[in-house]
């Protein structure tokens, strides 16, 4: 594995390995199996990898039915179609019925790029966060994801994997043992904390590096699991730095900013500024354009950090 390894290949290699040794693991797709490369599983594991066609609601409820028989189904579609289109099926057939289904939603936020507004999930984490007992995990890079997958499989209960299909920048130190339920520090600091997810982790690191040149010391925490939130790590860092910026590839309502704000406001209130999409729909464009439109560039993070620090009492 290296910086060219694709997230989807990490997923499909894992599934192939598991399906070879564990009859319980099954795959259900809805005509986007080429996009996730899980299509090969349909020929490699006939009768255990299904394609229901363009019918996401059906896919999710079928997976719930399979789960009642002791199978561990992985389902895949683009993130908006898992969380928006099949929202009620995720809610009732899977979560309310307590079924062990793993929901893979790809192309989070602006990584949907050229598919544009209809395919750009900026609300999926908010939707999923409001459903009880579901784990929401957005892999930071391929190395972290590889360590996360066996933990996701062995976790008894629904997990939403918000997965970039391609190759986000490498940020994870692979010498460290990853814990699915723990946020982790990528850079120590004393003046402010940036809590980041997904593609915004690398942006946060770049911002922290530039701020260091101005003698501003910033802690960067990667928070791949937004639910359940690793409150302890975030509160500890907020106590140390006294100012927080959240950076997410998602609407600031309902996602990481909301989660961190909810935790800090009732445990250790500090100024919190948000980087993320604010009251806008998705739109078509390349990543560089979209980062500019939604104020998700390195400069935006730098500005937010300075503002948060200036708000300290």
């Amino acid at each position: 594995m290296n910086e060219k390894t694709l997230m989807r290949d990490v997923l499909v290699d894992f599934l192939r390995e598991q399906m070879s040794k564990d009859d319980k693991v099954v795959m259900v797709d809805a005509d986007l199996a080429k996009c996730s490369t899980t299509l090969c599983l349909q020929s490699e594991f006939p009768g255990r990898a299904y394609n229901v066609g363009i019918a996401e609601a059906n896919m999710v409820s079928i997976a719930a039915g399979l789960a009642t028989r002791g199978f561990i189904p992985f389902v895949h579609s683009f993130a908006p179609f898992i969380t928006r289109r099949a929202c009620d099926q995720v809610m009732i057939s899977v979560c309310y019925a307590k079924q062990n289904v793993k929901l893979v939603g790809t192309d989070p936020g602006i990584t949907a790029e050229l598919n544009g507004g209809t395919h750009m999930p900026l609300e999926d984490v908010g939707i999923m966060r409001s459903i009880p007992n579901v784990v929401i995990y957005e892999p930071s890079d391929v190395f972290e994801f590889k360590q996360a997958l066996p933990q996701i499989l062995s976790h008894e209960g629904p997990v939403y994997i918000r997965m970039h299909r391609k190759n986000p920048p490498l940020v994870f130190n692979n010498d460290i043992k990853f814990d699915l339920f723990k946020a982790y520090s990528l850079r120590e600091g004393r003046d402010a904390t940036i809590v980041a997810t997904g593609i915004m982790i690398d942006t946060a690191l770049q911002a922290a590096k530039q701020l260091a040149e101005d003698n501003i010391s910033v802690e960067v925490i990667a928070c791949p699991t937004v639910k359940p939130l690793d409150e302890k790590t975030i509160i500890t860092s907020a106590k140390k730095t006294g100012a927080v910026v959240t950076a997410e590839n998602h609407n600031v309502m309902g996602g990481l900013f909301s989660a961190v704000s909810e935790t800090l406001s009732s445990n250790y209130p500090v100024p919190i500024k948000a980087i993320g999409v604010k009251e806008k729909f998705g739109e078509v464009g390349k990543m560089s354009y979209l980062r500019k439109v939604y104020n998700m560039e390195v400069e935006d993070v730098i500005k937010a950090v300075k503002e948060a620090i200036s708000m300290k009492k």
Binding site: R48, N58, I62, T68, A97
Partner: protein, 274 residues
């Protein structure tokens, strides 16, 4: 007593339990519960391989009541079979009960799938039947869907996939009582011609009197012999069947209140008053 006589007695007992259960809280989905009493009697009285003492038995047959609001009908047959004490029926919809208005597999012994948001249960049943194909076991998955529920798009997503998969271990009943909450199916958004629709989706289709237990029994037996297709048994039923004032309420019987006097009258009519 002959087998069919036993089944008819079971249907009566189910109807009495439905009335008694819903009367205990005073209101409920009585019409669509009474309309499926006969098919439940045939399933639990003869066809379903279940063990009330071991409700989670791996090799048991499954039933998904996709029209989840018929929960009280399911509880009525499960109590009669001994999955839980009959007295528990009196707790329907009371706070903390194991018997919620809509079926919940995590609360009620003998309920195989949670349902209530219409359209989802058939897909779940398809998943359960697929699971049997993977396991190569002999489990039959049964499902009951509503006629009004058949207006949900997900029913047809599930129908298309099950037909293409040739899921012959799946037997589905439509409770075709011709009424839904707001009016008649025909007036609101007609599902006819229903049998043609299911045939077009590559199903093995039957259309019978949903209150004739002998016909239901024979049709299930016949369907089980047909290989390579999922089975749809359309039950022509009467919403509220067996209780005159419920039947007479027509559209009004989807959810209606039942007083103590009405309960007594209903039990007498069914012939199960003790």
């Amino acid at each position: 007593m002959s087998n069919m006589k036993k089944i008819d007695e079971l249907a009566k007992a189910i109807r009495c339990n439905i009335v008694d259960t819903i009367a205990s809280i005073g209101v409920g989905h009585i019409g669509g519960c009474l309309s499926i009493a006969d098919v439940l009697a045939v399933l639990y009285g003869k066809h379903m391989n279940v063990d009330p003492k071991n409700p989670k038995m791996e090799g048991r047959d499954r039933l998904v009541c996709s029209k989840g609001h018929a929960g009280p009908a399911i509880y009525s047959v499960l109590a009669e079979m001994g999955f839980f004490p009959k007295e528990e029926l009196q707790t329907l919809n009371q706070g903390g009960t194991n018997l919620p208005s809509h079926c919940d597999m995590n609360k009620t012994k003998g309920v195989d799938m949670t349902a209530g948001s219409l359209g989802q249960g058939l897909s779940c049943a398809v998943g359960i039947a697929l699971g049997s194909k993977i396991k190569k076991d002999s489990v039959t998955t049964y499902a009951i869907i509503g006629d009004g529920e058949s207006q949900e798009g997900q029913i047809w997503e599930a129908a298309m996939f099950a037909g293409n998969q040739g899921l012959d271990n799946l037997i589905v009943f439509t409770d075709y009582n011709k009424l839904q909450l707001d009016g008649t199916i025909e007036d609101i958004n007609d599902i006819a011609p229903l049998a043609d629709k299911w045939r077009a989706f590559k199903w093995d289709v039957y259309e019978i009197d949903g209150h004739d237990t002998k016909q239901i029994d024979e049709t299930i037996t016949k369907a089980k012999k047909v290989k390579g297709k999922p089975h749809m048994i359309i039950l022509h039923t009467i919403k509220g069947k067996g209780v005159s004032f419920v039947e007479a309420a027509k559209v009004g019987c989807h959810s209606m209140s039942i007083s103590a006097e009405q309960k007594a009258q209903a039990l007498q009519e069914i012939g199960g008053a003790k």
